[in-house]
C-alpha cells in the first residue's frame, strides 16, 4: 500500500495537480517525457483574456514544483508498465539518460555555445535552432542540459567530446545509461495533454508547401521575446531568405579567400574562381532585392477550425482556437502598429469568463476584421504571397484575399503516447481518442484509482485545465487517504 501519488505529464494541469497534493502534505512524483516540465503553456507567448505573458506567470509554478519538499521530479522519463490496483500500484519507469550529471550541471550554457552540431529546435517548433547539447527552454526546470544522442557526434561514432572538455563542473557523462526502476503509489493522475493537429494533411491549405502558412503554435513562438526571432514578427519566407543570404555571404568569404590564395601562389588560372565569386555576388544581390521587396508583415489572416469540426479529420471543436486567434491578432498589433488582422471563423466561440468582452475589444479597439466563413483553399499569387479563398457568409460573396502571413488555428488531438498508456493502465478512451471519464464524476476514468485532468481528457483552456487538475487532486487525495 502507498499513500503517494504519481502525476503523469508536467504541463500546467500536471503541475497544478502536483502542487495541490504536495501542499496537502502528500508525496507526489511528477513525471515528464521531455527534458523539462512546462508543457504547451510554456510555449505560448501570452494568454487570453488578460494578455499575461505565459511563461512569466508559469515560471514561478515550475520553480515551486522543484523546490517543494513533497515533490519528486522525474523528467525525461516514461511509464513502461503499471501493475496493481487503487491504493497499491507498482509503476515501472524508464528515466532516459541525459548524459549529464544533474547534480553537477549548473546550466552555465558554455557547452551549448561550443557544441558544433546545430539542429532544429523543437521548443521553437523548428523555427529556430539548438545544439546537440541543449536546455529545453531558458526557464526550464530542472535547470540542466541534456545531450540529444540522436544527433550528438560522440554517439554517431565521431570524434568530438568538446562539451566534456569545456565543462568546468565536469557534469558530462557519455557513459550514462537509461535507468529503469519501480515506484509504489496509491493513485495516478493522467495529465498528458494534447498534440497540435498536423495541418499538412489538409492539402488544400498548403501548409508545408507555402512557407508563410504556419500554425498558431509556430506563430506564438514567432511573437515571443525568447523565440527564434527574439520577438520580431517575421514570416518564414523572409527568415528563409535571411538564412540564404547568410549562407551566400559565407560562401563569398570562402571564394574570396580562395581567390586570394590562388593569386598569391600564382599557380594556374584564377578565371574559374573569379567566375564563382561573380555568380555568388549576383546571387547575393538578387536575394537582398527579394528581401527588400518582402517588407514588413502587414496583413495577417487567421484561419479557424483547421482539422476541427471537420468530419474528414476531427469532429470535435478545439475549444480555445477562437480565443487564441483573437489574442494573437491583438498581440500582433504590439509588434507593428500597421498590422491588420482578419479572422476567418465558423462560430465565434468566446464562451468563457470575459471572453466575449475580449472578442468585442479585439474588433473595436484593435481593428480586427471578422469574416464568417470557412476557408476553402489557400494558394499563392504571382508574387508568391499566400491567398485565401473563402465564402463570406455575411456578404454572401466568394472572396479571394492575399495576405503576408496566414496562421492556422489547428485542431487539438490526443497526445501520441496516450494509446500506449491506455493499454498499460487499462482506462478507456472516447470517440476522439481522449481519456474517457464517468459522466457524473468528471475526473474519474474507467480504471479505479486513476484520474485524468486537462487536455488529456479533451480540448480545454487553461483555467478549465487548472480547475480540473485541482479536482483530480481532490479525488487522488481521497483515494490515498483511504476514506472515499
Amino acid at each position: 500500500m502507498s499513500k503517494d501519488v504519481l502525476v503523469i505529464g508536467g504541463g500546467i494541469a500536471g503541475i497544478q495537480a502536483c502542487l495541490d497534493l504536495a501542499d496537502q502534505g502528500i508525496t507526489v512524483y511528477l513525471l515528464e517525457r521531455l527534458p523539462s516540465i512546462g508543457g504547451k503553456m510554456a510555449q505560448l507567448d501570452k494568454t487570453f483574456p488578460t494578455n499575461d505573458c505565459s511563461i512569466c506567470i508559469m515560471g514561478p509554478k515550475l520553480f515551486e514544483v522543484e523546490r517543494h519538499p513533497n515533490t519528486h521530479l522525474l523528467t525525461y522519463s516514461e511509464v513502461e508498465a503499471v501493475d496493481g490496483e487503487a491504493g497499491n500500484f507498482m509503476v515501472k519507469i524508464k528515466k532516459k539518460a541525459r548524459y549529464i550529471d544533474e547534480d553537477k550541471c549548473t546550466a552555465c550554457g558554455l557547452c551549448a555555445e561550443k557544441c558544433p552540431v546545430i539542429v532544429p529546435d523543437q521548443f521553437n517548433m523548428g523555427l529556430g535552432t539548438r545544439r546537440a547539447i541543449y536546455k529545453y527552454f531558458p526557464q526550464g526546470i530542472p535547470s540542466v542540459y541534456t545531450i540529444d544522442d540522436s544527433v550528438c557526434r560522440v554517439f554517431q561514432g565521431k570524434k568530438c567530446k568538446i562539451c566534456a572538455k569545456i565543462c568546468e563542473a565536469e557534469a558530462i557523462d557519455y557513459e550514462q545509461k537509461d535507468i529503469v526502476f519501480e515506484l509504489n503509489v496509491g493513485a495516478i493522475i493522467v495529465a498528458t495533454g494534447f498534440e497540435v493537429f498536423d495541418p499538412s494533411d489538409i492539402k488544400s491549405y498548403g501548409y508545408g508547401t507555402i512557407a508563410d502558412v504556419i500554425t498558431a503554435l509556430e506563430f506564438e513562438r514567432l511573437l515571443n521575446a525568447s523565440g527564434p526571432t527574439r520577438g520580431h514578427l517575421e514570416r518564414p519566407s523572409s527568415l528563409n531568405i535571411k538564412a540564404e543570404i547568410k549562407q551566400t555571404e559565407k560562401k563569398i568569404k570562402k571564394a574570396k579567400a580562395r581567390l586570394k590564395s590562388l593569386e598569391k601562389k600564382n599557380q594556374g588560372s584564377t578565371d574559374e574562381a573569379r567566375k564563382t565569386l561573380a555568380a555568388l555576388d549576383e546571387r547575393l544581390s538578387g536575394l537582398k532585392a527579394k528581401e527588400a521587396a518582402l517588407g514588413d508583415v502587414k496583413d495577417i489572416a487567421f484561419v479557424q477550425c483547421v482539422g476541427s469540426r471537420d468530419l474528414r479529420y476531427n469532429a470535435h471543436c478545439c475549444s480555445y482556437g477562437c480565443m487564441h486567434s483573437v489574442k494573437e491578432a491583438i498581440v500582433s498589433t504590439e509588434h507593428g502598429s500597421e498590422i491588420r488582422s482578419t479572422i476567418f471563423f465558423t462560430d465565434m466561440r468566446a464562451y468563457g469568463k470575459e471572453f466575449h468582452e475580449y472578442f468585442l475589444r479585439g474588433g473595436a479597439e484593435y481593428g480586427i476584421q471578422f469574416v464568417r466563413g470557412r476557408v476553402a483553399e489557400i494558394n499563392q499569387d504571382d508574387h508568391g504571397r499566400p491567398v485565401i479563398w473563402c465564402e463570406d457568409m455575411d456578404a454572401r460573396k466568394v472572396k479571394k484575399l492575399p495576405f503576408d502571413l496566414i496562421v492556422l488555428a489547428t485542431a487539438c488531438v490526443p497526445s501520441k503516447g496516450i494509446e500506449k498508456l491506455a493499454n498499460i493502465m487499462g482506462f478507456d478512451s472516447d470517440q476522439s481518442g481522449f481519456v474517457k471519464t464517468d459522466p457524473n464524476k468528471p475526473t474519474t476514468t474507467s480504471a479505479k484509482g486513476i484520474f485524468v485532468c486537462g487536455c488529456a481528457n479533451g480540448p480545454m483552456d487553461i483555467p478549465s485545465s487548472v480547475s480540473m487538475a485541482s479536482a483530480a487532486a481532490s479525488m487522488a487525495a481521497q483515494t490515498v487517504k483511504g476514506l472515499g
Binding site: E66, D394, P439, S467, M475
Partner: protein, 553 residues
C-alpha cells in the same frame, strides 16, 4: 543592528525583455558605485534556477545582508526572490525589488536614454530604501478544521461531500427551503442522460446521511469576520441565530436564469424560457408541433455583454428530448454562434442536426421578431426575411448573478465583476481562489457552468480548501500594521478607516491590530493623526530615504 550594510544588486536581462532596451552592463556599473553596494551582477533570467543560485552564491561569497533585484514585477516574482534570500540565510524582508521591465524597458521602449536613466533612478532609490529595511518574522495561528459551504446546488453539495470524504467537517448553508439549487427544476442532464432529480436526490440523501456534514436550509449568511484558518461566521435560520468558527469558506451560491420580461413577447405560455420548457418536459406536457428556440435572449447585448456559455447546449439537449417526445416536431434554433465546444458538445450538436433540428443564424442587427404563431427572421444565407411557424417559442436566457451576490461579496469582503459574478484571484492560474486567503469559489457563482464543469470546480475548490485544512497551523508574514501604544490617543480613526474592521480598543484603552487579520493595506498608517501606527515593510524612514535618493540625482 550595528553591523555594516552590505547590499547586493541583481539586474535581470529577462531575455531581451529588459536587455533589448536597457544597457544592463551600464546599470551594473552604476549600481556598484552606490553607497553600501558590495556587488552588482547581471543575470539572463534572474528567476531561473541559475539566477536564484547566483543570488545565493553572492550572498555567501560577499557576506551580503541586503538584496536588491531589478527585474520584472514583484506581483509575480517577489515571493520567489524572498524565498531565495531565506535559503541564503538572510531574512526574506531584507529584500527590495525594482521593476525595470514594466516601468522602464516596456513603457519607454522608444526612448532608450530615458528608460536607462529611469532604471538608474529606481535602482538608486531601492538601494537607499534597502539600508532601512528591517527583518520581519512570521506569525503562526491555529486552523479550525471546519469548512463553511455557502449554497447547496450541485457545486456546493459536491464540495461538501468531497471535503467530508477526506475526513473534514462541513457546515452547509442554503438560503432556500430545499437543497438542490437550479437542478431541482431541470429535466435531464446531457450527455449523461440522467434525470436531474435523480442526481440531486442522490446527493441530498448523501448529505443528510453524512455525519461530517451539518446542513441548514432557509439559512441567511449575516456576518463573517476573521481570516484564513480562523473565520467567525454568523448566520440565521428562521428565528434562530448561529455562530461558528471555520477555517475556510467555499462560495457556491450559484446563479439564476434571466427572466426575459419584455423580450421577444415573453408571456410564460406560448413564449417561454428553457427552464420553463424543462418543467414541461418533466411533465411531458407539450403539444406543440412547431417550436422555435431563440438563443442569446438577453445576452451578448450592451446591457449584458457576456456569453452565458451553457445556453446553446441546453437548447441542443432540449431539442433532442423534444424530438424523443414529439417525433414529427419541427424545431428551429435561431442562434448567433453555436457554443458547442469540446468533444461531447460538438457530438451532441451533430446528433441534433441528424435528428432534423434546423439551425438558422441571426445577426444582432436583425434579431428575430416573435409574432402571433410565427417568428420572422432574416436568413443571412438566403439574404431575405422568412417566417417560421411557431406553436411554441423557447427563449434561451443567460444565467445571471443572484440579487444577493453583492451583499455576500460585502460580507465576505471578496470582489465581484461588472456582471456581478464573483471574481477569482487570477483568470488563468487561480480560477477557484479568491485573492483573500481561505475563501474559494465554484459553480455558477463564478460564471455559468455545465453540471460537469460545476462538479469539476466544486471538487477543485475542495482540493484548494484541503490545503489549508491539512495543516494544524498556518504561517503569516508580519507585513502588517502595528500600534505603538504609548503614542495612541484612542481617537478611533483607525477603527473608522479600516476596510476590514480589524482595529479594536483593547483592555488598556488603546487601539490594537490583530496581525493575523490585518491585510496590510496601510490605510490606518496613513490616517493615524498621532503617527502611532507603524508599517514595518514600508516605514516613513524607508520612503523618505528613497525620495531623498531620487532628489539627490
Amino acid at each position: 543592528m550595528n553591523t555594516e550594510l552590505r547590499i547586493g544588486v541583481f539586474i535581470c536581462h529577462c531575455g531581451i525583455n529588459i536587455a533589448g532596451v536597457l544597457d544592463i552592463k551600464g546599470l551594473c556599473e552604476y549600481a556598484k558605485a552606490l553607497p553600501n553596494v558590495v556587488t552588482a551582477q547581471a543575470n539572463l533570467f534572474t528567476c531561473a534556477e541559475t539566477g536564484t543560485s547566483a543570488i545565493k552564491k553572492a550572498v555567501k561569497d560577499n557576506n551580503l545582508n541586503r538584496v536588491v533585484v531589478a527585474a520584472c514585477t514583484p506581483r509575480t516574482h517577489e515571493p520567489l526572490f524572498r524565498a531565495s534570500c531565506k535559503e541564503a540565510g538572510i531574512n526574506p524582508f531584507l529584500f527590495e525589488m525594482v521593476n525595470i521591465r514594466e516601468h522602464c524597458s516596456w513603457v519607454h521602449r522608444h526612448n532608450k536614454d530615458a528608460a536607462q536613466a529611469k532604471a538608474g533612478d529606481l535602482i538608486r532609490m531601492a538601494v537607499a530604501k534597502a539600508a532601512f529595511l528591517e527583518p520581519i518574522e512570521t506569525f503562526k495561528s491555529k486552523v479550525e478544521p471546519l469548512t463553511l459551504v455557502i449554497g447547496s446546488g450541485i457545486a456546493g453539495m459536491t464540495s461538501a461531500l468531497a471535503l467530508a470524504d477526506q475526513g473534514f467537517e462541513v457546515i452547509l448553508i442554503e438560503k432556500e427551503e430545499n437543497m438542490g439549487g437550479l437542478l431541482r427544476h431541470l429535466h435531464k442532464i446531457a450527455p449523461a442522460n440522467v434525470a436531474a432529480s435523480e442526481l440531486i436526490e442522490e446527493k441530498i440523501a448523501a448529505i443528510k446521511k453524512n455525519k461530517r456534514i451539518k446542513y441548514f436550509t432557509s439559512a441567511i449568511l449575516e456576518e463573517v469576520t476573521g481570516y484564513v484558518g480562523n473565520f467567525s461566521v454568523r448566520f440565521s435560520c428562521g428565528n434562530d441565530s448561529y455562530t461558528c468558527k471555520v477555517g475556510v469558506i467555499i462560495v457556491a451560491t450559484g446563479g439564476i436564469p434571466l427572466r426575459p420580461e419584455g423580450l421577444f413577447n415573453y408571456d410564460g405560455k406560448n413564449v417561454i424560457t428553457q427552464s420553463e420548457l424543462e418543467i414541461k418536459l418533466k411533465k411531458r406536457d407539450i403539444e406543440a408541433k412547431s417550436i422555435v428556440m431563440i438563443q442569446c435572449a438577453g445576452a451578448r447585448i450592451p446591457e449584458r455583454n457576456y456569453c452565458s456559455r451553457i445556453c446553446c447546449m441546453v437548447a441542443i439537449k432540449n431539442c433532442l428530448y423534444l424530438k424523443d417526445i414529439i417525433k414529427d416536431a419541427k424545431i428551429f434554433v435561431l442562434f448567433r454562434d453555436i457554443q458547442a465546444y469540446g468533444v461531447e458538445n460538438e457530438a451532441l450538436l451533430l446528433k441534433a442536426r441528424e435528428a432534423g433540428v434546423r439551425f438558422i443564424r441571426y445577426r444582432p442587427d436583425t434579431p428575430p421578431v416573435v409574432e402571433n404563431g410565427k417568428v420572422k427572421i432574416y436568413h443571412p444565407a438566403m439574404g431575405k426575411e422568412i417566417f417560421l411557424p411557431a406553436d411554441l417559442v423557447v427563449l434561451s436566457t443567460p444565467i445571471v448573478a443572484h440579487d444577493d451576490a453583492e451583499s455576500i461579496s460585502r460580507i465576505l469582503k471578496v470582489p465581484i465583476n461588472g456582471n456581478k459574478f464573483f471574481l477569482e484571484a487570477h483568470a488563468k492560474l487561480s480560477p477557484l481562489d479568491f485573492a483573500f486567503n481561505g475563501i474559494y469559489l465554484c459553480g455558477n457563482a463564478r460564471y455559468p457552468a455545465t453540471v460537469r464543469e460545476a462538479t469539476c470546480q466544486a471538487l477543485g475548490a475542495a482540493s484548494r480548501a484541503c490545503i489549508t485544512l491539512s495543516h494544524d497551523t498556518i504561517e503569516r508574514v508580519g507585513t502588517v500594521a502595528s500600534v505603538q501604544e504609548e503614542l495612541c490617543s484612542t481617537c478611533f480613526t483607525c477603527i473608522k478607516v479600516c476596510p476590514y474592521n480589524v482595529p479594536y480598543i483593547n483592555e488598556r484603552g488603546r487601539a490594537e491590530i490583530e496581525p493575523m487579520q490585518c491585510q496590510g493595506c496601510g490605510i490606518c498608517v496613513a490616517e493615524c493623526p498621532a503617527e502611532a501606527i507603524e508599517f514595518k515593510y514600508i516605514s516613513d524612514k524607508q520612503i523618505m530615504a528613497a525620495c531623498e535618493a531620487l532628489l539627490a540625482s
